[in-house]
């Protein structure tokens, strides 16, 4: 209720602003985002400086809260009141939802001029364009979620050499770690983290084709299949390797467990790398980065994008400058070096990134070539939020022991069809 009152007030304010507007001769952009953590904020400064050189002032509109839930609530009231910000950080299907509301700006002219079509991975373009094929967003980075992060010291101690190739090897390694007295998996029991692990397990269990059918296309047959049941069984198996205090733990605390040597591995997207680097650990020497065992060659992606909203003619010019700056190779590299992700264009050199980053870039480019690049369900690139959360419900309920694997498969099919 409070939000609605707020939006009503915002409506009044917007009405007033209509009369007051136009007084600003100076160009400015207003950007709504949730990058408020130290490193992220520093990375954004690069963009800010780049724009200020072109005479565009940056009006920061940060809304704290990791996954952007709060930011979306603010955005809703701004757009309802007809006072949309210039650009908004957004993920996956949310972009499409907003595009369907008909409130986004068209960037196609700029995209054609700068040849975005050639440099942005195809799977990503589907989300950065609306249903008419017009560019509506500028992707900032590409994260990928099917990673495994490991403490090198523990791996050496129990004698893990080279890559853990598949599920069976993973279980063997986890058993050894358990015997050695460590917590094998640093696990954060929050719905989105459960789903992040789950999608990697599904990919590892059923392969890329199955992943796409089940968690991108939501084919009821794939969702209700025996392969899906195996995936749930494997989730139960992983449950044996987590500490009893896992529920509700934030992802960065789980990463800290690996950094401190309390736990051996974490299954998490590449943003976890930032935590390792900040703790002054070196990839390859102190920690290991590899794909979730059994998912090598395939990349599940998640990309932060700046979605451009329709603004008045006087602000349009600055908006185009912002979009162009976001897509510039300098910003893409500078930003992603700090953020842990890789650039959203495949044509920039990755020399400045660390070993894990270079590996990620190479794999992204390869996956793009071979069509092995799929949207991450856990991060809004697999389904609209209603379906996504329906899957979260089932995965979390199952991982916490509410459902058996059989019940989970049945509940998954039902929940997805109810939410669609």
């Amino acid at each position: 209720m409070g939000k609605r009152i707020l939006s009503a007030f915002a409506g009044l304010a917007a009405g007033a602003a209509l009369f007051a507007g136009g007084a600003h001769a100076e160009e400015s952009v207003e950007v709504l985002h949730w990058w408020t953590a130290g490193g992220e904020a520093a990375a954004l400064n690069v963009l800010k400086d780049q724009l200020e050189e072109q005479g565009v002032t940056w009006q920061d509109m940060p809304v704290a809260g990791g996954s952007g839930v709060q930011a979306m609530t603010v955005l809703r009231s701004r757009v309802t009141s007809g006072n949309a910000p210039t650009a908004v950080q957004m993920l996956g299907y949310d972009i499409q939802d907003w595009a369907n509301e008909g409130v986004l700006a068209d960037l196609s002219d700029l995209a054609a001029k700068e040849k975005w079509d050639d440099v942005v991975p195809k799977a990503l373009q589907r989300f950065a364009k609306n249903s008419d094929g017009q560019w509506i967003a500028a992707p900032v980075n590409v994260h990928s979620t099917n990673w495994m992060w490991a403490n090198k010291k523990i791996f050496d101690e129990v004698g893990v050499e080279g890559e853990v190739k598949d599920w069976d090897e993973l279980i063997a390694v986890l058993d050894k770690i358990k015997e050695a007295g460590y917590t094998p998996i640093a696990y954060g029991g929050q719905p989105w983290q459960d789903a992040t692990v789950f999608e990697a397990v599904v990919l590892s269990t059923g392969g890329p084709e199955f992943y796409k059918k089940a968690l991108n296309d939501f084919d009821p047959e794939a969702l209700g299949s025996d392969t899906m049941k195996t995936a749930f069984d494997r989730m139960s198996k992983l449950h044996e390797y987590v500490d009893p205090n896992f529920s509700g733990r934030d992802w960065n605390l789980a990463t800290a467990m690996v950094i401190n040597g309390k736990a051996a591995v974490q299954f998490m997207g590449d943003w976890a790398k930032g935590e390792f680097l900040r703790a002054d650990l070196k990839p390859g020497e102190d920690f290991v980065c590899q794909r979730f065992p059994g998912t090598q060659g395939t990349v599940l992606f998640n990309s932060d994008q700046f979605v451009m909203f329709q603004v008045g003619e006087d602000k349009r010019d600055a908006q185009i400058k912002l979009a162009s700056a976001v897509m510039s190779p300098t910003f893409q590299i500078a930003f992603n070096k700090v953020k842990g992700s890789v650039p959203a264009r495949t044509d920039v050199p990755g020399d400045e990134l660390d070993a894990c980053g270079q590996k990620g870039m190479k794999e992204l480019a390869a996956a793009n070539e071979s069509n092995q690049l799929f949207g991450s369900l856990a991060h809004g690139y697999g389904a609209p939020s209603a379906v996504k959360n329906a899957v979260f419900d089932v995965v979390t309920a199952h991982f916490n022991g509410e459902y058996t694997s059989d019940e989970a498969v049945k509940a998954l099919v039902e929940a997805v069809s109810a939410a669609q």
Binding site: M1, K3, R4, I5, A8, V69, M72, T73, R76, V79, T80, D97, W98, E101, G189, Q190, P191, P244, N245, F246, S247, G248, P384, S385, A386, N389, D393, T396, A397, F399, N400, G401, E402, A411, A415, A418, A419
Partner: protein
């Protein structure tokens, strides 16, 4: 009482009838003029938005409000959702235990404090103090206290009691009871204050008369005092029941609906469906159901209060 008030008002009436018509008109209108702005604001921002929410619940709104009318479909969907049933079940557990334990504990504390003990002035605020905290603070503090990794469990282990085991907050079946514990801790002092006021209102003559008739303390409380506290019970019930139905902040701070979705309650359900899951219409439907729950408690209460007033 009525006789004396009649005597005092009569001369006032006579005097005002002698005043000018303008002044009388103004006097008639003044209360309405003074109340009009707040009345208008309440009509719009409370009742207006209730109507708006009810209407939204009968549309196909998802990300943003939409204004097509699709009937009661969302209510059918809502009652098919396992999450909603979990929320209702949790509310039933939480609500009944919260109200029951708060009343029992509050009454017990009030009776103890009513024994004309020394230091009541110090004890009473101590019991009442948790009420001064917001539910967010209560929830966060209890989250740390109950966390097996850092709280009670860990402390007991550190003190050498290795077999001590209390992990309710991480246990799917028990987590809702930790919400009850925290909520009871917060509110029972407040209920105690209500009962204490009720106890103080009871005529000591009645107690003395009962004592002379040979009633022991147990009988005195059971047969006379507690039945006479009926209005206090009713107020406590109404206050606690609506707090239970709208409880949101405590759950968010304490368990955030977890582990899994074990502590989901209607209010957290409403927020997540409306604002994070882009199913605004379903969220609005659940809000309407919550409103109906609160109304089913408050309306009979108000009705009985008002009719009691009219009888007097």
């Amino acid at each position: 009482m009525t006789a004396t008030s009649n005597v005092t008002t009569e001369p006032v009436l006579r005097r005002s009838s002698g005043a000018t018509a303008l002044r009388r008109g103004l006097q008639d209108w003044l209360p309405r003029i003074v109340l009009a702005p707040s009345f208008a604001v309440i009509i719009l921002f409370v009742y207006g938005f209730i109507v708006f929410t009810a209407y939204l619940s009968m549309t196909s709104s998802t990300l943003l409000p939409r204004f097509d009318f699709i009937g009661l479909e969302n209510y059918v969907k809502l009652f098919k959702l396992p999450n909603w049933w979990i929320a209702l079940k949790n509310l039933a557990i939480f609500g009944s235990l919260y109200i029951g334990i708060c009343c029992a504990l509050g009454l017990f504390l009030a009776i103890l404090l009513d024994q004309k003990i020394r230091g009541e002035g110090i004890l009473r605020p101590i019991y009442l103090y948790p009420m001064a905290l917001s539910f967010i603070v209560t929830g966060t503090a209890w989250k740390w206290f109950l966390d097996p990794g850092i709280g009670l469990d860990q402390t007991m282990h550190a003190l050498g009691w290795a077999s001590f085991h209390f992990d309710w907050i991480k246990n799917r079946d028990m987590a809702i009871y930790t919400v009850v514990i925290a909520a009871v801790w917060q509110s029972s002092g407040f209920v105690m204050a209500m009962f204490l006021a009720g106890l103080r209102g009871i005529d000591t003559e009645i107690m003395r008369a009962a004592a002379i008739d040979g009633a022991g303390p147990w009988q005195l409380y059971r047969r006379i005092i507690i039945p006479m506290l009926r209005p206090a019970f009713l107020s406590a019930f109404v206050v606690l029941a609506h707090m239970a139905i709208k409880s949101y902040d405590l759950v968010i701070a304490l368990t955030n609906g977890g582990p899994g979705r074990a502590t989901e309650v209607p209010a957290t359900f409403m927020y997540s469906y409306t604002f994070t899951r882009s199913q605004m219409a379903i969220g609005a439907a659940s809000a309407v159901i919550m409103l109906m729950m609160v109304a089913s408690i408050i309306v009979p209460y108000l009705y009985s209060e008002l009719s009691a007033e009219r009888q007097q």
